[in-house]
Symmetry: C2
Amino acid sequence: MGVNALALTLRIEDYRIARPNPHKGGTMATGVNRQFVLASRPTGQPSTDNFRLVEAPIPTPGPNQVLVRAHYLSVDPYLRIRMSEDRSYADPQPLGQVMTGGMVGQVIASNLASFPVADFVEGELGWQEYALTDAASVRKIDAKLAPISTALGVLGMPGMTAYFSLLEVGRPKPGDTVVVSGAAGAVGQVVGQIAKLAGCRTIGIAGSDAKLAVLREQMGFDATLNYKTEADLGRAVAEACPNGVDIYFDSVGGDISQAVFPQMALWGRVVLCGLMTQYGLAEPDVGARDMRRLLYHRVRLEGFQTEDWRDRYPEAVRRMAGWIKERKLIYTETVTEGFENTPAAFIAMMRGDNLGKALVKVGGTS
Amino acid sequence: MGVNALALTLRIEDYRIARPNPHKGGTMATGVNRQFVLASRPTGQPSTDNFRLVEAPIPTPGPNQVLVRAHYLSVDPYLRIRMSEDRSYADPQPLGQVMTGGMVGQVIASNLASFPVADFVEGELGWQEYALTDAASVRKIDAKLAPISTALGVLGMPGMTAYFSLLEVGRPKPGDTVVVSGAAGAVGQVVGQIAKLAGCRTIGIAGSDAKLAVLREQMGFDATLNYKTEADLGRAVAEACPNGVDIYFDSVGGDISQAVFPQMALWGRVVLCGLMTQYGLAEPDVGARDMRRLLYHRVRLEGFQTEDWRDRYPEAVRRMAGWIKERKLIYTETVTEGFENTPAAFIAMMRGDNLGKALVKVGGTS
């Protein structure tokens, strides 16, 4: 396990110690295809019992297929939604089948001229060590552009989410005050930095002083708030934002959003990008639901789904890769080693243990 | 007291009986200027004790002023907000001063060439029988265009609210399903009819079967729901909107909004135009606050304030007056007779007793 950054070496030792790593070190590929299937649907927070490790033969590609060997697997909040039976997001993950999820891997056998052996690809190929795919289900990765793991993070879905949700829904103007919830996560840390590039003042909210220090000292956040230790978060937001909040990047919902809503500025925007506190609820979330401020201050709140912007991913990847090269944008990754630790990495991410993109490095790969 | 409609005679006898009228019949003007001042700030629902009747001399216009005699006073939900000390909407109504509120009246003395005696004007001139004003604080009314009372209703602030909030925030498309809360109110009944003109399917929510019958039978609503008698309003909305809700016109908040939110369609719009259930709360409103549907379905929710559209009022008045003439748009007014009944008319409107625009007809005028 390690925390990587392209442009800066981060000192977040406290944080590294806190990360669980139930099975130390990576294991070699085993000659079979290990897979995690969904064994049961969680109530509330997920546990390792919800997943079952199974073994299958390594498959052989058919016509127009390639065989991909996983290097990195992605664990993301949206997977929690798909573990439930709620059909309003997407079709639920079927029980007994390989867990869905993003993968970066290398083509090791190919019946597709356009994807020769040794190419790197990214796609939603699931929690397994090997996967068959066709050309339509993956995109090619330029390993010279950036480390391949970034195709699951800053140059992948989370980075695209940050770029399009902030710029196209939030529509920042220089001088705007931007409050970012989930600021230490894969999306939040990028949102805050793009907001800075757009000339905004940026306030990050997260649950660890060590992570907040990284946001301030390495990523240029102007101020940060620890939602776990602030006695009165609403008042703290008000004090940190004396002119109100022009853009609230909401990835959490619940009490944190309730603290921010009353501080929204005239013509403010709530970028509704995630509801981390809501996905696992066994009972409906009940709390203050006063929307008077949104009414009086003409606030626009808009739900965002990254996939709607797929046609414009190349623009964002090109621009963000440039920012990374110029050291205007840094990112962190929280990497758990070993395929067998994928459920534990997912659960830790859902608990908020990660700083930046949470990944699993599959053993036996470079 | 009476219920007027320009294009249709409405039979809503049940409803008329239900309206309270503590002081029957209008009284003549008394030679002094009677005024209602705010005596105390309400907790929860307002009562007549919050207002005090005072008398003052009828004033004389100074340079560039006119004296207006009130014909109609307007009682509107926004006044409840201003009775509280909450500064996030507008400056609170000061205690001991004449209650703010819309007035339609006639110029009876003038030091302004542009506003000669006998002109009709509309402006926020307060709960009083006579008011001084300058040219900037009122607009002239064309009494030939429509009855002068409409300048406080369908061709005034409520009509402007309906027109711009639905068309500019809701952005209806033919075939959209539009759910209107507060559908029997001054704004809601117009929203539903404009939605029909725009080719939408319209479902109205209100609290009286008699009023809902008017919406269906006279105003073309496709379906209606009584929030007071539906056992499961969320299920009723779902059944009435099998393809989901494309536009939710929200003037109430609270439980009704909570019933509609989970039915929002992909790319749906919530026009946040009022929060009638929230204005009088002594304690914060607590309830379900799950916004997952807004996230998953990319819903846009936007707070609306009519005053932002002032520059475009003439367009809306012209168009809506045309619809009224063509009998494409009908409206109702709930008129309480007698200046002294203004607080009672306001309280009844806040309780939802009105059908369409709630007005006070000041005694002794034509």
